[in-house]
Structure formats: C-alpha cells, structure tokens
C-alpha cells in the first residue's frame, strides 16, 4: 500500500490557475466550483516586495476531521490514504465543511453533495497522476508515495525542507509546501495577513464558517522556509537604501 501525498513548491508557482482549471475539467465541475483555491500575501514595501501564493486543496489528512464528523460515513479513507467522498452516502449536511481547517470542501450543485480534491484517484488506478500535477508548467507540484523513502516526493520534501501547513493541529495533512514566506514576522502575523483572494460574493460552501476557519488557521500556521529564503529576507532588510 502506498501513502499518497503531494509537494507544492510555491517558489515555482506563477499563479496561472492551470491547476484549478484542469481540475475542474477532470472532475466535471461547474465554472464556479473549484477544488483548488489560492491564498495570496504581499510582503515588503516598494521596491523590495514579494508576493506569496498558496494554492490550497484537500490535504488528505491522516486524522481527517471531516471524516470524524461525517454522520453517514460518506467521507472515508482508502487503503492508500486518499480521503474520498461517497456521493451516494453524502446528505449535504456540511459538517465536514465546518471542521475543515483548509476550507477545502465545496458544494457541487449537480449532485448536491459536498466534494473536494480526490487526488484524481481514478487516474491513479490507471497509473496516472492528478490533473493539477500533470498540467503544472513550472512543475511546482510533485505527487507520489510518502512511505517510499526513494520516491521523488520523499526525496524532494527532504531536500526542499517542505512542511505541511497547520501541521500541529493533529490532522497530519499529506500536502507539503515549500514557501519563502517570512519567518520573522511571527506566525500569527502571517496568518492574519493572508487574505482569501476570493471576493466576498463568491461564497465557498463554508462561507459562513470562514471565521472559524480563519481562527483555526491563526492558531497554528507553519510554513516551510528555505534557508536560502531566510538569507534573502535579511538582505532585503539591509538593502533598503536601494532604489527609490
């Protein structure tokens, strides 16, 4: 058995939305239904500025809170560790929406069920990869078996010091991020600075519960940092006299 996971290297991401659009097509979602959403944070002052992009989707938590609260057992985990939703069992109660720290669940209108990223599990059976991984032009995404120490993903997680977000909520997420987000500004500061880029009138299924989600995020946000990026940030601070 494998334990599937993903690495998202945000230092390669140009926020082109190809992952979202490929995912929508693969999963036959409507244009306003997306399993992948983006969180953006701008840091610094002109001209020393940096923007951080976090593409977020279901993190396929080992201890998935959504699974625990699902009253019908519609949310389940496969032997390979992929968290899935059984459409026939889902009653659309949205309990899962309220407990997901990543705001990863949306209502799919056609089936009136709550859905989310499924790692394109039907493709995996055929030896393929998730649509978001396959399409990513700068290869910001790597998919594979976290249990296999020789897999590309395991190697790269180590090499790039990738870490899950919200790692110490005890959910054991399986998407690992590489980000250059400043480690100086303090964890809470980073999180409150994150703005959900979706405009207010496009409500995700968990829209009403965004407050709770944000609180969850604020409590515990850990982003991986490259040692190179730490250095870079310090240089930025010293170099303020550079161009007006």
């Amino acid at each position: 058995m494998a334990r599937y996971g993903m690495l998202i290297d945000t230092t390669r991401c140009v926020s082109c939305f190809a992952c979202r659009l490929a995912c929508q097509m693969k999963n036959e979602l409507e244009q306003d239904e997306a399993f992948i959403h983006f969180v953006e944070k701008e840091e610094g002052i002109y001209p020393k500025v940096k923007v951080h992009i976090l593409p977020i989707q279901c993190q396929h938590c080992e201890n998935a809170p959504c699974m625990k609260v699902c009253p019908t057992g519609a949310t389940y985990k496969t032997a390979d560790g992929i968290v899935l939703v059984d459409e026939n069992k889902c009653i659309g109660c949205k309990y899962c929406v309220s407990v997901c720290p990543y705001n990863a669940r949306i209502e799919v209108k056609q089936s009136k069920t709550i859905q989310k990223c499924n790692f394109c599990s039907s493709e995996l059976e055929k030896g393929g990869e998730p649509a978001c991984v396959k399409t990513c032009i700068p290869e910001a995404r790597i998919f594979g078996d976290l249990d296999d120490p020789n897999s590309k993903i395991s190697q790269e997680i180590k090499k790039r010091h990738a870490k899950p977000i919200l790692a110490n909520q005890g959910t054991k997420p399986k998407i690992y991020y590489v980000s250059e987000m400043s480690i100086k500004s303090g964890v809470n500061d980073q999180v409150t600075g994150l703005t959900d880029m979706r405009s207010e009138y496009i409500k995700p299924a968990g829209g009403v519960l965004l407050g709770a989600t944000a609180l969850g995020l604020a409590g515990n946000f850990v982003v991986a940092s490259l040692s190179k990026s730490k250095q870079k940030h310090e240089n930025h601070n010293e170099g303020e006299e550079d161009h007006e």
Partner: protein, 699 residues
C-alpha cells in the same frame, strides 16, 4: 442493469491530437471525445511548445465549440440588424462588391487583416495576390513589430533563447509567467534549477517576478536608457566579447563613440534604477557570457508600446551581440524549421505577387520604409478608410476595433468602409461593424494547414478536426476564401482541397499525412548548430551597430537615447498594461471558465501603488475613476506595493462592448480606450502605452 452495461460498451471514446487555441502559441493537445462530444483535453507530451503541459486557458478554450454566443451561420447587415443568409448569397454578394470596388478604386483599396497563422497566410495571401492587392496587415503593430524591426536591423531576425542552459537571464518587460508560452517558462525553470541567475526588469512586479532572483522596477518607457548604460559599462570595462565583435560586427567603433555619454549615472536619473545596480547587471551578464542573454521578449517593453520601442529592441540585439551569445549554448539562437513542399503549379496555378505599394505605406520609400509590408499597420486602417484610400476590409480572426487604440476612432473609421467582411466564431466588436459576418467552426471542428515548427530541431504539426461541427452551417476559412474566389472568377487558384494541399506541403519531409494526423506532431531532421555563428540576415550579413538602412530611411544609424512620446505631468499616471496568464487579450474574456477566475480573484482591478493610493484616499477595493481626454472609466483598485508609483496597470483583454459577447460585455476596462491612435515612424508600432491618465476615488 443490463442496459447500462450495454451502454457502457457502446461508449465510443477517441483520443485525437490537435493544437490548442487558448492563445496563439498553438500547444499540442490530445482531445478525448466521448460519443462525439469533447470531454477532456491534456497536453501532448511530444509537442515541443508545451511538452505535455497546458496553461489554464487551454481548458477554458476547449469548451468553445459548445459556447452559447457562437455564430451559427452567415449573416448580412440590413440597416442596424443582421439577418441570416445562405453561403451562396454571401459569396455572390461579397464577390460582386469586391469586383466593383476593385474596378472603381483599384485592388490596393482592398485590405486583408489577420493574426497570421498558416491557413490565414496561405489562403488570405493567395486571394490577395489573385485580386492584385498588397494591402495585408497582421496584428503585429499592436503586438511586437518594434521588436522584429529592431532585431532585424541589428542581428537579422528575432532569435529564440536557450534558457535551459543559460547562466544569466535578463527579462525586460517580458513575463513568461503572464504571457505563458509553456516552453519559455519550462526553459527558464530548467535554467533556474541549474542555478542560473534570473532578473526581471518591469515597472510591475509581474507573475514571473515571484519566481526569479530579483525584480528591478523601472520607470516605464525608459528601458532603452538602461540598455545604453549596460552597453556603456561593458565597453568601458572591456567586458564585452571583443573577438566576436571584431569578426562578426560592423560599425562598432562609431557605436563606441556615441555610447560614451550614456553612463550608469545618466541612466539612473532617467530609469530610477541605481547606477550601482546597472553596473551589477552589466557585470553579471558579462561574467556569464556567452551563456547569458537579454530575452528578445514579445510585446513587453519594446514590442509596440513606445515611440522608442524599435530603438530599445535594437539595443537588445546589440547587447546580446556584445555577449557573443549568438547560437551559443545558453545564449540566443536562430531557430531552424523544415522546408515544406508546394502545390504542383502545373495543376494548381498560383497567382503572381502584385507589384503595387502597400496602401498604408509600409515598406514604401518616403513613408514607412522600415515597416515590413507583410505586416503593415492595422491600427492605421480606420484613418485610411476615412481618407478614402481603403474601401474594403476583410478581417480574419482579429478584432482591431477592441484591440487597437482609441475606440471611437475605430468605430468612426470602419463605419465609413464600403465593405467589411469578418470571419470569427462570435460577434466581436469588429464583427458588429461588418457588412457580412462569416462564421468559422471553432478550432476543434476544423482541419487547418500543416505547420512547420521552428526550434532547436524542426518539426511539423497539425491542427485537425476532433469533433463534428456543432453548428453545421459554419465553414472553415479555407472554404470561405475558395467560395468567394470562385464567385469572382478566380477559382483556378483554389482548385484543391485542404487535404491535397497538406499532402503536397508534407511531401519533402517524407512524413505521411496519416502518421502526422495520428501523432499530431513529428520532429524533422533540421538542427541548430550550437557554437557556430550563422550568416546573419542583416543587409551586411553581420551584426549592425551602424545601420545603413536606418540612415537611408532618415533615422539615426546608431541607436541613441530617445524619450517616450508622452511624459505624464504632475498628478498624472502612465497607463501600462499587459497580459494575465488566464487570458489571451480580448479573445478569452468571454469564456465562462476563464472569466470566473477573473471574478473569483478580482483580476480586472487596476493596480495602483500603495503610497500613491494613500495620497488619493483610495483603499484596496475602492471604485476609482480613470480619465483622460479620450475616455473615462470606473473600476475597483488593487492597492499594492508591486508597481512603479507613477504608473497604473490595467490588465488587457477586458472592457468588451460587443453586445452579443454576453459574458465579457461591460466587464472591466480596456487600456486601448485611453490611448490616442499614433504611429512610430521607424517600425510602425501603435504606441500602446504612450498615454497619461488621472485617477481619483469614485464618490
């Protein structure tokens, strides 16, 4: 249950390779067709433009065939309305009107405009040759004509870059993460993985700035000063490739003399980039030579935006030459492509190329001698109609009314034409002004001409029909032109099918048509010889630091500092614009999947610098009014540190006003509305960013 099993068995699933149309890069895609309907696309791994990967636009465009706004059959204007007509009637009436105009005003008064792709070039040019007109315009004057002219007159042609092997890359105004061509972004990432240093110069912290080593903001329109100072620094310190220049260049001594005054300190005052930073760039570029380049870009800082754009482009060519990087690993190179065949002229006679001047003055002595007559200046056409020089305009998949500067100038001009024929899939702003609208099937429903693919190795590729026509009464451009030509008594020049033409084109490559259709793309034997400098396509065959052609045309033979035409006054902003990676100018805003991304992430907003916004009392998300003499528009502000303080950035591609583009109509603003029509005399560019506006909070 049994019924279901049978149904599943009967499912007919096909996978067919073709070419994307989300932008005009034409990436390889494999379309999955289930029971005749397109259900999925993915990248074709064999296609060198995208190597199996696709940007977001591809997925949006894939559903175009089923779009509700599509035109379903030919239409004719009657008063202010369009009424459906038959193809026979359309051919007949258009043919008769064209003949009348040619007799009355001469063939040069018939203009053909398009975004040049193989079908449009082959059929469009053959038709123009047949009627005796040379008046052909491509979208280049509002895209990258300055780049092409500048590079043509320095290094002979526009090169590619070997980014994967570069040690230092300088991008000036080009954002490979916004105007995505997958191979460009992939090449850059490969270079980055091998520790290349990448620097982005742009007034805006664009989507690529995020993944490179350094973003250096510059005052918009002053890029030529940066390049002059880089050249000055390289010469002063003897950092350039002297041996290369001695062997492969002319006019370097004159250039050296001229360039003496362009010091980094001088350029700092103009560009706002510190002199020390300019020296650093020059040093880094030089230290990495010849595995270094300044990207030849597209529209960017020297495609079509400023009066000085062609001269900026010349400097890009010359600084690259000073790095000795031509056809060197990690440098720039001239792509190779396969030579395709021709139709048998005994069976299929070709019309002669007419020897008449281009009606817009392109390539004509005393007018626009350096503008390539194959490209022309489409942004000038409304004026030429107004002057009575152009009477008929045939427009193929191009939307000049929305995509060239100055809305009213365009509308007023085109309205005066005696005949406008537009081929498109839907009712664009230009189609709204047409007398006849001739709808094509979408790219998924038509087979086009085999294309030679240029690169490090050659290849041939094809766009082919993957689904039946969704609207059966639409016709591909090849058939439309053939139909009109026959009606005009020019049928002898079009006595072949597109398949016969493709067979003939493919013949010298030894590749079978059937195999190409199965694979979508096949490599050919041509290869770039790295390490060997080819004979350049300039007049002298060498790098021209001094251009006789420029001198003859009355321009400075050596690139010199030239300010942009418009200098925003105190309190004004320069309006800059560019592509976003989910859109391709105005051609994708009407695609629901892509427009939804814009709406979800507020991508239509105007970028304004935080400090400036504060001074004006503008908060993020506030509505602001952008205004100048030409236009006034309202839009929400994106307040950000990521832009040069005296500029605002509006994404291109929104602000549709065609009433039948139901998704994009009335959404966002289009930069062209704020730009007065104008032309640079050297390369004929449309001066797309030569404008100043005021911004205030909407109250």
């Amino acid at each position: 249950m049994n019924q279901w099993v049978n149904a599943a068995k009967q499912e007919d699933i096909k996978r067919i390779p073709t070419l994307c149309n989300g932008c005009t890069s034409r990436c390889g895609i494999i379309a999955t067709i289930k029971n005749g309907r397109l259900i999925h696309i993915e990248g074709n791994k064999e296609h060198p433009t995208n190597n199996g990967r696709l940007c977001g636009r591809a997925y949006g465009a894939a559903m175009l065939a089923y779009h509700k706004d599509r035109l379903q059959g030919p239409m004719k204007r009657v008063g202010d309305e369009f009424v459906p007509i038959s193809w026979e009637q359309a051919y007949k009436e258009i043919g008769a009107k064209l003949k009348e105009i040619i007799t009355k005003y001469g063939p040069a008064s018939v203009m053909y405009m398009h975004n040049p792709k193989e079908v449009g070039k082959f059929y469009g040019y053959r038709f123009m040759n047949a009627i005796g007109s040379n008046s052909i315009q491509t979208h280049h004057s509002v895209c990258y004509i300055s780049r092409d002219v500048g590079l043509e007159h320095t290094i002979g042609a526009t090169p590619n870059t070997d980014a994967a092997n570069a040690k230092y890359m300088l991008f000036i105004g080009r954002s490979v993460g916004d105007g995505i061509k997958p191979s460009h972004l992939q090449g850059m990432m490969k270079g980055r993985d091998k520790k290349a240093k990448i620097v982005c110069v742009d007034p805006r912290h664009n989507a690529t700035a995020n993944i490179v080593d350094e973003w250096i903001p510059i005052k918009p329109g002053t890029d030529i000063a940066l390049l002059l100072a880089i050249a000055n620094t390289m010469i002063k310190n003897d950092w350039y490739d002297k041996a290369f220049i001695d062997q492969y260049a002319i006019g370097f001594e004159e250039f050296k003399k001229e360039i003496q005054t362009y010091t980094p300190e001088w350029a700092e005052k103009i560009t706002t980039i510190p002199a020390t930073k300019i020296v650093e760039i020059a040093k880094d570029l030089s230290a990495a030579k010849p595995h270094a380049f300044i990207d030849p870009s597209w529209k960017g800082a020297f495609g079509c935006n400023y009066l000085n754009s062609p001269e900026t482009a010349r400097m890009v060519g010359l600084v690259n030459a000073m790095l000795g990087n031509i056809n060197q690993k990690g440098g720039i190179y001239f792509a190779v492509e396969p030579k395709l065949g021709k139709l048998d002229s005994a069976k299929h006679p070709a019309p002669e190329k007419p020897k008449v001047d281009h009606i817009d003055g392109s390539g004509v002595e005393g007018q626009y001698p350096l503008v390539p007559s194959s490209k022309g200046m489409p942004h000038r056409t409304p004026g030429l109609i107004d002057e009575g020089k152009v009477k008929a305009v045939f427009i193929n998949h191009f939307n000049p009314v929305r995509n060239t500067p100055d809305r009213q100038y365009n509308i007023d001009g085109y309205k005066k034409a005696e005949l406008i024929v537009v081929c498109d899939i839907w009712m664009s702003e230009t189609a709204e002004l047409a007398h006849y609208v001739l709808p094509e099937p979408t790219y998924l429903e038509r087979t086009e001409i085999i294309e030679p693919l240029a690169g490090k190795t050659g290849a041939v590729t094809i766009r082919q029909q993957v689904i039946d026509k969704f609207h059966p009464n639409t016709k591909p451009f090849s058939e439309i032109i053939t139909g009109i030509a026959k009606e005009m008594g020019l049928g002898q020049y079009f006595n072949f099918t597109i398949d016969e033409l493709n067979e003939a084109l493919l013949k010298p490559t030894g590749i079978s048509y059937k195999e190409l259709k199965e694979k979508g793309v096949i490599k050919t034997k041509e290869m770039v010889e790295f390490g060997k400098v080819p004979k350049l396509k300039t007049e002298s065959g060498k790098v021209e630091f001094y251009s006789e052609a420029y001198k003859k045309a009355g321009f400075s033979p050596i690139p010199v500092w030239m300010p942009p035409k418009v200098e925003p006054k105190k309190g004004e902003f320069r309006l800059i614009w560019g592509k976003q990676n989910v859109h391709s100018h105005s051609s994708t805003a009407n695609i629901p999947q892509l427009m939804q991304v814009t709406k979800d992430y507020n991508l239509e907003r105007v970028w304004i610098n935080t400090k400036k916004a504060k001074e004006l009392g503008i908060k993020d998300g506030d509505f602001v009014i952008i205004e100048n003499d030409l236009f006034k528009g309202k839009i929400r502000a994106k307040v950000t540190e990521r832009i040069f303080p005296d500029a605002i950035f509006l994404p291109g591609g929104y602000g549709a006003f065609a009433k039948n583009l139901k998704i994009s109509n009335g959404f966002g603003l289009c930069p062209n509305d704020f730009v007065k029509t104008g032309t640079d005399p050297i390369s004929g560019n449309g001066l797309m960013m030569e404008t100043a506006v005021t911004v205030r909070k909407d109250v």
